[in-house]
Amino acid sequence: MNLIKIFLSAFLIDNIVLMKFLALCPFVGMSTDVNKSIGMGLAVTFVTVLATSVTYPLYYLVLVPFNLKFLQILVFILVIASLVQLVEFFLKKNVPGLYASMGIYLTLITTNCAILGVTFNNISYKFNFIEAIVYATGTALGFMLALVLMAGIRERLRSSPVPKFLQGTPIIFAATSLLAVAFMGFANLIK
């Protein structure tokens, strides 16, 4: 029950893009069409879970015993970036099909702030390992949901008469804020 609560809260109530305003750059950049946003969402889900399962033990088994908690940011960024690179090498060699569909997104998300944010939150919310994985999955799927919704909105925007001073990125941010207001409706979903 607790796990479902964590998942739902990460997925909808505290949606990483629309409520926490993290990962706005890939959100604006990659929501141009639905297929692209699904590809990006899947890649982010994969990397977030992987990063969590590496950084979480690293924090509790290395950083805490050596009293190096203040190095958290440095270590996590380094580890996540090299992990993504490694996965990219691996996919390129062994699963070329998956690499062709996911490869370009993988390099984009090496320093995605959503992923770094998830790994920090896992520590600050004092989750255990299972909870951390569930939280990471929920957050990443929430990111994908926001991306797919935005891609749908942008498809409509493309054929709408947008005032000249709002064309391009400004209208996307305006639409995003309205979407965020809609997501506030989930606030009391879990008591």
């Binding site: 050596f66 009293n67 190095l71 380094l78 580890v79 090299s82 490694l86 090498f89 691996f90 060699k93």
Partner: protein, 272 residues
Amino acid sequence: MLSIIITLIFSVILASVLGIALGYFKVKFNVEKDPRVAELEGILPGVNCGGCGYPGCSGYAEALAKGIAPVNLCSPGGKSVSDAIAATLGVNAVSTEPVVAMLLCQGTKDVAKDRGTYVGIKTCRGAKISAGGTKTCAYGCAGFGDCVAVCQFDALTMGSDGLPHVDYLKCTGCGMCVQECPQQLFVLVPKSRKGSLVLCSNRTTAKASVIKACKTGCIKCEACVRACPEHCISMVNGIPVTDYSKCTSCGICVEKCPTKCYQLIQKTIPQI
């Protein structure tokens, strides 16, 4: 002081472990790439017009290196590029004749009437899907410039007369506008071709509807077919078509056409 030293040691260890691991895996998972692909990408113009039928220049380069694509598909690059590709791959180049795109519609604002006021999405395709075009002539140019937007070479401009104008010196014959135009008004014509061409795409056989819709539409009177001394013009799908193996560019069809649909290709396309 101690914490600084520990931090230093830890950072050095972490960085070197990650660095060595990445370096090791890079070698271990190295994928052999065909060196010719990079070379071919350098030769190709890099405009990614898609005229060759492959997704962008790198897609064509890969297909070339695999040996599954002919060397003469790049029309923007022309002969010099296909020769360079052939030299790289060690095959004989087949010469390609340079082509340009021509618009087969003369329905400017003045001569072709609008059906009404169109207020939908301002693209040709949108107008075609929602209202079947904007002009009374169902085959005419809608004039929103989908072709201008898709042209990678700046060869098309939207004229004040409501028709796109082709700059034949810039046009590379990549065929993007041919694919994009929802009315299929563009054709690729070899630059060196001589002869007459009818600049109308109205394929209805009802003469009265053409007269009503456009002052320079082909009204199917077949005066050109009767007038041609070489008997090289025949009606195909409601449009007169010239047989270029017989045409002598005498210009009689251009004179006889009552709605001035006919034009000699060599007068339109500048001959170099």
